[in-house]
Amino acid sequence: MPAATPAVAPISPAAARRLRYRFVTSYLLKRVLAAILVMWAVATLVFFMLRAVPGDPVQAMLFDTADAHAVAVLRHKYGLDRPVYVQYGLWLWNIGHGDFGASIYGSREPVRQIISQALPRTMSLALLAFVIAMAIAVPAGIVSAVRRNSPLDHGFTLLAFLGLSMPDFWLGIVLIIIFAAHLRWLPAIGYAPPSDGFVPWLRHLILPATAIGTAFSAILARMIRSSMLEVLSADFITVARSKGLVERQVVMKHALRNALIPVITVTGIAFALLMAGAVVVENVFSIKGIGRVLIQGILNRDYPVVQGAILVVSAIFVMTNLVVDVLYTVIDPRIRLR
């Protein structure tokens, strides 16, 4: 395809590529740097906020019953008797090396171990929830756009409203009542790793994933609908139609591909929503993922675990935002690089 006539001096395609490459690398570098800064800011906030709260973790560790000597020994052991800036420096150094300390409640298990066990569960859950949301939203969005203002479209609109108004954890409870308690088709709680086989994994995760994915599918379906409506009124669609293409091909091939571009931006929001959903829904289904680890940590005043979980969850968000930004520049070259 011939390039558009440049307004200024023409440059060779190779030079244009080099220029774009330079733009992209400097953009990526900036984004990565910004992501690191955000993570540092979050880590710092977490460190100082948890230290500013009333309540002594050492006392909590000894169940508020210890004598002064035992407290002093433990304080020394964990470096809590040192100046705050030394603690902060050490802490940053340690988490920089993946050392989040050990749980101070019960097991004394290293936080890294707890998190590395929990993370695959949450990831499985979020992934399946995303697939379910897409499976609901894409057909619903297309049908609503193509059959605009039909009873079907109105029906989907109402369903989307319902999906957005339902607490995800409640939907989880309703699903348990129907599919586990009454129909007895699926297990109500627990998790089976993929190593046990695909079917047990799916059977355990399908209810929680549906509970999490429903609200997101509502947002997604509305987005696909409006995006499709916009694309369907574009000139190139009229051209495609006037070429005599069947409507099915126009919609599925020409319109959908372009309509999905803005949807990619919401995958960042998607992940955020799915993770937020996982935090609560894991507790409904007793799945020991990051969300359950975080909440149990908070309830047990287990600060190292809380810190570790918050940092890992935050890192996931920051990474997702970064990946989405990068993906977007790759998919749509028209995007302006700041």
Partner: protein, 299 residues
């Protein structure tokens, strides 16, 4: 040139205009979803305010009729301690609605102050405030609320503070954007030339004209705040255990849902109906005030 209109017809037109319904009422009556939403909300608020008079029983009084299925006597059934579920759900409306409104009011106040200051003064103040807002923007509101409750501890006031802080980024962004647009308008310049102080410009000239998108955002945020409160209560991070809240009733009933489905259904239906009504009404407000869809649909 147009023909002069006879006086009698002028007065007839004036009268007609006066008799005509105001625009907001006409739009409301035409919008079936919004009307239903508003009626349901009024009923809910009345039920919450008049809870001692309208609930069939004391929400805390226990009895030996434990886990009884819905009946004439107990329309929503009873819980594991024999307490009337309908009464508990009615009392739960108090906490949910109060938290929803209180958090959004404080969140809006704080967020608007931050946004207006950032937008009006610009410079380093803008940089600091907006860096913070950007940082918060990167995380879902609910997760921030969980983080903050982890720091502050549970309890009614802490939950309100946590949710209010978690939601303020939306308001700050909108307020700042509006200020940046309005600040440059001629009438603001005019007021400044007449010697109006910064405070007067912000409060009397800029803020009143940025209310529409803020009101729409506030409505959306109330529904999110109610969902967030329910989620926190469900996780045991909400208001204290003796207060019946919808999230807490669901959490308490969780161990019995396989035997007593009503414990898992009715409190959730209450949450859904409330949030749905607010969303219906919010949609109407968005159309009425002509606010285009904002990109704040993260929860």
């Amino acid at each position: 040139m147009a023909e002069p209109i006879p006086v009698s017809e002028v007065s007839a037109r004036v009268l007609q205009r006066r008799r005509r319904r105001p625009r907001w009422l006409k739009a409301l009556l035409a919008d079936r979803r919004a009307s239903i939403g508003l009626v349901v909300l009024i009923v809910l608020v009345l039920a919450a305010v008049l809870a001692p008079y309208v609930s069939p029983a004391n929400p805390d009084s226990m009895s030996f009729t434990m886990l009884e299925a819905p009946s004439w006597h107990h329309p929503f059934g009873t819980d594991d301690l024999g307490r009337d579920l309908l009464s508990r759900v009615i009392y739960g409306a108090r906490v949910s609605l109060f938290v929803g409104v209180a958090t959004v009011a404080s969140s809006m106040l704080l967020g608007v102050v931050m946004g207006v200051l950032a937008g009006y003064y610009g410079g380093w103040l803008d940089t600091i405030i907006m860096r913070y807002i950007d940082l918060q923007w990167a995380f879902p509101n609910f997760i921030i609320a969980v983080y903050l409750v982890a720091v502050f501890g549970a309890g009614l006031s802490n939950v309100i503070i946590a949710i209010a802080l978690a939601f303020l980024d939306d308001f700050a962004r909108i307020a700042r954007g509006m200020v940046l647009t309005i600040r440059e308008l001629d009438y603001v310049e005019g007021a400044r030339a007449l010697g109006a102080s910064d405070l007067r410009l912000m409060l009397r000239h800029i803020l009143p004209n940025s209310m529409a998108p803020l009101i729409v955002q506030a409505t959306v945020s109330v529904s999110y705040a109610i969902l967030a409160e329910a989620g926190l209560s469900f996780l045991g991070l909400g208001v204290k255990a003796s207060t019946p809240t919808w999230g807490l009733i669901l959490s308490d009933g969780r161990s019995f849902i396989t035997r007593a489905w009503w414990l898992g259904i009715f409190p959730g239906v209450a949450i859904m109906v409330t949030v749905l009504s607010i969303n219906f009404f919010g949609d109407y407000l968005r159309d009425l005030l002509d606010v285009r869809e904002t990109s704040t649909e993260k929860s």
